[in-house]
């Protein structure tokens, strides 16, 4: 396609070759190319070279990550979230868990946090509040990025929550279009609430233990 040859080659010929390789050419373009390379040895060679290049590219050997790759990644991850750790810990230490539950009830802190004021928390997003029915509404089309906690109010989900939903002492209603990515948890009784608070308590203990272990 150089010098005098360029005169008889349509300018778009090389572009068509690439489109043919990408299976992106029209029938008309294909016909144009294959007719042209019948008579033009330069373009024929160019096209053959491109096809050879492509076959080299496609035949490059598949690769495997080095040995121990996964464990090296795992060692570098930030510490596991404590909620996961705590669920495991509570399962394997039921007696200690029961003892802590008893202590927690005795101190009364759980009870006071149960009766404390109404609460609503979400990281982002627009929520509506219906005074009459005491209902917080995630409107249709709205996306809440993260967890949503509603206390002493009802919750209606018409939009989407990308996280866990926690409804404390209220009712949760999901519209057919509503979506929740994480878990929905309803806490309706003081016992459930105790359990929930307990998890937070053990969470702090867990912190203490993991600090001890890392010494």
């Amino acid at each position: 396609m150089k010098g005098g040859e360029a005169m008889k080659c349509p300018a778009e010929m090389i572009g068509i070759m690439h489109d043919v390789l990408d299976e992106d050419a029209t029938k008309e373009q294909k016909r144009l190319l294959f007719e042209h390379i019948q008579t033009c040895s330069d373009c024929k060679q160019h096209y053959e070279e491109l096809k050879k290049t492509e076959s080299f590219l496609l035949s490059s050997p598949s690769m495997e990550a080095p040995d121990g790759f996964t464990s090296k990644v795992m060692k570098q991850l930030p510490q596991e979230k404590r909620t996961v750790w705590i669920k495991r810990w509570m399962k394997s230490h039921p007696l200690v868990t029961a003892a802590i539950l008893f202590l927690a009830l005795m101190t009364g802190s759980v009870y006071s946090s149960w009766t404390s004021e109404d609460q609503l928390s979400a990281l982002s997003g627009n929520l509506r509040f219906d005074q009459e029915t005491n209902t917080v509404i995630v409107p249709e089309g709205e996306v809440i990025e993260g967890d949503l906690t509603v206390k002493n109010r009802n919750l209606e989900i018409e939009g989407e929550v990308k996280g866990d939903v926690l409804v404390i002492n209220g009712e949760q209603y999901m519209a057919s279009a509503g979506q929740v990515t994480g878990e929905i948890e309803e806490v309706d009784h003081i016992l459930d609430w105790t359990w929930y608070e307990l998890k937070k308590l053990v969470y702090n203990l867990g912190d203490f233990f993991t600090n001890e272990e890392s010494k």
Binding site: E49, L50, E54, S60, F69, V73, E80
Partner: protein, 187 residues
């Protein structure tokens, strides 16, 4: 496959390390191959691939669950590889726009003078002509070619990974392939 990956990701979002290990196992070979073809050095490729997974873990809340996970992961790995390439050697002259055939001729003269670091010359993989040719491409063509041929992705997926219009991706693949053709003829 997608359903399994999504279930694993929901566990990872709750902070489950072991679930993340499953994701690493699923994608490690492809992420390593991507960074290796981009960087041409096993040690650097392993560093970058590991960093890609760590970033995926720490940013997992930003991943949109309705999109393809591999697209998001490859995007992290591609960007890290390009960053690493730029730090490695100042190849600003290679990044100049390659326009048409004239530009390509100029480019191949420039890259013929470029010396590969010693460890790349001696490594067996680098003997492979096509691999060397890919490594001589400027970052923007190298990434497009690698995603298309090593990862065998569609133009649409490549455009999402590189955050470029499909038309631009096509142009980069065409020019990259054209430059490779020239390189292979020279070898």
């Amino acid at each position: 496959m997608d359903a399994i990956v999504k279930r694993i990701i929901l566990q990872v979002r709750k902070g489950d390390h072991n679930a993340f290990g499953e994701l690493v196992e699923l994608y490690k070979d492809r992420v390593f191959a991507l960074s290796y073809r981009m960087l041409g050095n096993r040690q650097e490729a392993e560093d970058v691939a590991q960093e890609a997974f760590i970033r995926a873990y720490t940013n997992i809340d930003r991943y949109q669950i309705d999109r393809k996970f591999s697209t998001w992961l490859y995007r992290i790995a591609t960007n890290l590889s390009i960053d690493r390439m730029r730090k490695k050697k100042p190849d600003y002259y290679l990044d100049a726009e390659v326009a048409g055939t004239d530009g390509l001729t100029m480019y191949s003269q420039v890259s013929a003078d470029e010396q590969l670091p010693e460890d790349e010359v001696v490594s067996l993989e680098a003997q492979d002509g096509i691999h060397r040719a890919i490594l001589s491409l400027p970052a923007k063509y190298r990434s497009a070619i690698t995603l298309k041929y090593i990862q065998e992705l569609s133009l649409k997926e490549i455009s999402e990974i590189l955050d470029l219009p499909i038309g631009t991706v096509k142009t980069r693949i065409h020019r990259g392939r054209e430059a490779l053709r020239k390189k292979l003829q020279e070898q």
